[in-house]
């Protein structure tokens, strides 16, 4: 079947199996392999992308369901020569080791910071009625859908804090 998506600002037409996940569409059909498959079941977060501006697991949705939708992947944030502040902060803070979960962490952090700005509460927010401050426990809770087996967690959050201060 055919689906047309806007990926990183560019319209992309796909001819795909109806069963193709959005993740496999991005990786195997569009060659955007920066988005990783760590579990294929929404249990690790490595495939996190932005769908119409919100972070989701690309593995847990079908490409067929996204006709006309806007997708942002890690390739849409920056390049090695021109990294986004978050990407650059991950390098500075060593917010990774093997690098496999990194695209997911960065995309998730991008979506998470927007959620925080919009006043989205979390499980650990002291209050539901007031907006949440960007404390480390808040960020840790909100980033918990992104596993990092190398366990760069403290440095990932240091990078997120650094990038959000720069903004």
């Amino acid at each position: 079947m055919q689906t047309t998506l806007t990926v990183n600002g560019e319209e992309r037409r796909l001819d795909h199996d109806v069963r193709t996940s959005l993740l496999d569409a991005l990786r195997d059909h569009l060659g955007l392999t920066g988005t990783k498959k760590g579990c294929d079941h929404g249990q690790c977060g490595a495939c996190t992308i932005l769908l119409n501006g919100k972070r989701i697991n690309a593995c847990l949705t079908l490409a067929a369901m996204h006709e006309g939708d806007e997708v942002t992947t890690i390739e849409g944030l920056g390049t090695p020569e021109a990294m986004s502040p978050l990407q650059s902060a991950f390098v500075t803070c060593d917010g990774y080791q093997c690098g496999f979960c990194t695209a997911g962490q960065i995309m998730s952090a991008t979506g998470m910071l927007a959620e925080l700005k919009e006043g989205m509460p979390s499980h650990v927010s002291p209050s539901l009625s007031e907006g949440s401050e960007m404390t480390d426990p808040e960020v840790a809770e909100r980033m918990s859908g992104n596993l990092c087996r190398c366990s760069a967690y403290p440095f990932i959050r240091e990078a997120i804090a650094m990038a959000s201060e720069d903004k």
């Binding site: 079947m1 109806v18 069963r19 996940s21 294929d40 079941h41 929404g42 977060g45 996190t48 769908l51 919100k54 972070r55 989701i56 697991n57 847990l60 949705t61 079908l62 067929a64 369901m65 006709e67 998730s108 979506g111 998470m112 959620e115 919009e118 006043g119 989205m120 509460p121 979390s122 499980h123 650990v124 927010s125 002291p126 209050s127 539901l128 009625s129 840790a140 809770e141 909100r142 980033m143 918990s144 859908g145 992104n146 596993l147």
Partner: protein, 340 residues
Amino acid sequence: MRDFTYLRATDADAAAEALGPEASIIAGGTNLLDLMKLQIMTPERLVDITRIDGLSTIEEDGDGLRIGALVSNAALAADSRIRAGYPVLSRAILAGASGQIRNKATTGGNLLQRTRCPYFYDTAMACNKRAPGTGCAAQEGAGRMLAVFGTSEHCLAAHPSDMAVGLRVLGATVEVRAADGALRTLALDEFYTLPGDRPDIETTLAPDEIITAVVLPAPRAGSVQAYRKVRDRASYAFALVSVAAVVEMDGDRIGKVDLAFGGVGPRPWAGDDVAAALAGETPDEALFRRAAGALEPDRAPHPDAAFKLPLLRRTLVAVLREATGLAEASPGTDHAKDAA
């Protein structure tokens, strides 16, 4: 994943028409696709309802709120009316899954998510829920995450939802629409069935019915509401046990109390008897322990899951202490206000 035909429904009638025993609705897809990849669910037809108008809003409904079936978990938890008037629902949703999944998962889909029993998930193992009549491999298997209430000799699986526990404690109802347009409204205990000898049947939904909304009664302004989830890691894990509580105080005494428990039953498990034992009493830890001690299952739990009973009792005591002011409230315990 087996092959299927994909149909994008543009209105509820079209969706209803396409439904049937071999079809499945897809909305958020966060659990359905997970199951389809493993061929635990093998629908021949997928009916995508995400483009149907009118199912994605939260609207006032008398004194309460009507939540469209397609409202995402994230949008529901963040809605200012929910946060103010029904904080236990926000907290329950936020305790489940991850930020990414909550952005995609829907209200209707969350209610219909399947058990996470590892034997249901492993197609090499017997499971009456997945393949009726094959047996229940969990009975003699590894069973740490199994239910302790409402089980049968045919199934020990627990319902994994946090949101549904929040809805149960609030007395929410589910609105379903049949192909002919007829609407039914069901309390959660009417919506969910117990496994009995047909654990493959989990709800009273007919094959041609669609969940259109969840309806919340009027907010309980002034109540203390709490959702406490105990799990094997600090976040992003299913509940070992969870406790949802709505507690109203009547002066120094406990007024109306509602309780529901997660991780322990095949549906969000109501704690009506315990709640009744608390009403009219003066808050006291010994009282809470006594009341919690009355929680007893009908059948002996799987030995691996037997710990859930003492853990649930203790968690309930902790929640009641905070909700009644015996202990300082921690995140998860909030005062409900008027939703408007």
